[in-house]
Amino acid sequence: MSYYFTVMAMYILIGIIAAWGLNLQFGETGVLNFAYVLFVAAGAYTTAVLTLGHPSASGTQQYFWGAHLPFPIPWIVSMAVGAVLGVAVGLVSLRRLRGDYQAMVMLVVSLIATYLVSANVGFLNGETGLALIPQPFGNLHLSELNYRWFFVAVTAVVTLLVFEVMRRITGSPLGRVLRAVRENEAAAVALGTNVVKMRLLTMAVGGAVAALSGAIEVQFIGAWAPAGWTYPETFGLFAAVLVGGRGNLGGVALGAFLVQGLFLEGTVLLPSIGNPDLVGAVQWITMGVMIMLFMWFRPRGVLPERRRRFTTEARTRLPLLLVRAQRDARG
């Protein structure tokens, strides 16, 4: 049973990190990144090839290049890859397009990436994906269970670090500018905010955080394949942010716990009963209904964003707030 708890804990922590990255983009800044899971995948693949070693050493698996780097270098490189990829995707989709078009282009980018990786076996082992990815703390010689708890502890520390970074960003004058971009783009532009630059910034930071979550996930489970990052996976994370309460870090964490932990992975962990085809289907139907119920009864999420900054009345005073935010940002 302890195994069970370590897995649940890992999935929830990883889900929380990923959801926070998405919250920065979507919850704070209003960027609809429907390609979010692509950044999780980029981090996972980066860490995979950076720990698997040279392709010739791994026998049957094919991938374009590999190295054998110690922890935490693969995680850091993954974050850098996520950030660069975020800017690249952002440059394509965010500069000229309207919000809903951006979202659709991102969706298509996500799909194209899945196709590319699946079709090109020599790149990242195609649809079979990469497996037998080495564990990061193997040299500690811990017992199996202790090792798992150690991994959970490391991830918890990383989660706290991400929380602190997120808290600082959202609590800073920069955070206010980001929310201004979300609430009233026209006003933000009018007051001299470089909206595109702000969005690219969140693409970079959010991309790095997503990649980090992927890096941790791939090292924990030891495998990664296209089936694990198809575009609907992004929607699962969006559901987490919305159910929990966009713009509220605690709420988003709760949402990730509920959606990623309980709905998605928790149902897998339940002992199955009855007709196997039916059980899987019923689990998904239940998840769909639960999301609708949450959206109906808690439309702002279980823990809503504290509206003291931008209440409805405050919206009318937005220009004033923005001027202040701009001033703060310039120091």
């Binding site: 979507f26 209003g30 609809l32 394509v92 989709s93 000229r96 397009l97 309207r98 919000g99 809903d100 078009y101 979202a103 659709m104 282009v105 969706l107 298509v108 980018v109 799909l111 194209i112 196709y115 590319l116 699946s118 079709a119 090109n120 979300r182 609430e183 575009y231 609907p232 929607f235 969006f238 559901a239 919305l242 085809d277 039916l278 899987g280 289907a281 019923v282 998904w284 139907i285 998840m287 769909g288 209904v289 999301i291 609708m292 959206m295 109906w296 439309p299």
Partner: protein, 295 residues
């Protein structure tokens, strides 16, 4: 050259399926400003209803009609009793997307629970083909093309020449204004959703015929192409969706000649992105521009 023409034939078939689907998808958007991710699953559900009909001895084309009617009614009901209440509560544009994702999950897995994970199929003639130069069509494919074109023309006639159509365009352009000028907006919205559901249902059966199988993920798989066609034309633009369907449908097939098969699907989407980079609101920019989407 032969290959180009031969692929063009299949491109036309694919485009003919995308036509009603993309029109339906974009009609919903223009009427209520909802990007309905569940549209693909609604198509699949209708396709399975078509399967139920054919397995009870109903002719294939009557089954298509019945599936279309079923699609229209469920679409109307879903909008009335699920989506509209959420809109009334002030659910945001993105919140609505999440609702439709949840809807898509519920529909898709209800289908799986009822009909199982394995695909079913319609009774198709495995008879002769008609040759037009290098193009070849089965009888069913010709009918699919006919239906696709007919549905597009009917939509055109409706929007251009009837009061209802004009009212629909008015609602799409500016709902509060239309309401103020005496257009019964709710009825028009109902009609738009019913029409779009009919289009989707018909497209679902057409897809099942064209693929020679009906699986519970089928509509969802096509959804990306539908979205691409709709976005290429300019979201909410019915004529744009028509043009987008033809472009995406033909490109999907033609590009496979140049690229190897596994990469071909990418080209149509690459074109979408390139077009949007040049024309950020799609090929047909118009009223949609006014419908800025606020987060």
């Amino acid at each position: 050259m032969n290959q180009v023409l031969s692929s063009l034939g299949f491109g036309i078939v694919t485009a003919s399926i995308l036509l009603p689907a993309a029109i339906g998808f974009t009609l919903q958007f223009s009427a209520t400003n909802v990007l309905n991710i569940g549209f693909g699953s609604q198509m699949t559900l209708a396709a399975f209803i078509g399967y139920v009909c054919t397995s009870h001895g109903v002719g294939l084309w009557y089954a298509l009609l019945l599936a279309g009617v079923f699609g229209g009614v469920t679409s109307l009901l879903l909008n009335r009793f699920l989506l509209t209440p959420f809109m009334r509560r002030g659910t945001t544009f993105f919140g609505m997307i999440v609702i439709t994702i949840a809807l898509s999950l519920v529909l898709e897995y209800t289908i799986e629970a009822i009909w199982g994970p394995q695909s079913v199929f319609y009774p198709l003639s495995t008879g002769g083909t008609v040759h037009l130069g290098s193009m070849s069509f089965t009888g069913e494919q010709l009918v699919i093309i006919g239906i696709g074109v007919a549905l597009a023309l009917a939509t055109h006639a409706l929007l251009r020449y009837t009061r209802t159509g004009k009212a629909m365009r008015a609602v799409a352009g500016n709902a509060p204004l239309a309401r103020a000028s005496g257009v019964p907006a709710q009825r028009i919205v109902d009609l738009a959703w019913m029409l779009s559901g009919f289009m989707g249902g018909a497209a679902g059966v057409m897809l099942g015929i064209s693929l020679s199988s009906v699986s519970f993920t089928m509509g969802d798989t096509l959804l990306v192409e539908i979205i691409a066609a709709a976005v290429l034309g300019g979201v909410g633009q019915v004529y744009g969706a028509m043009l987008g369907s033809v472009v995406i449908g033909v490109l999907l097939e033609e590009s496979a000649i140049v690229l190897s098969g596994a990469y071909a699907p990418i080209s149509a989407f690459a074109v979408l992105i390139i077009v949007l980079l040049i024309r950020p609101t799609g090929l047909f920019a118009g009223t949609a521009k006014a419908k800025g989407v606020a987060a």
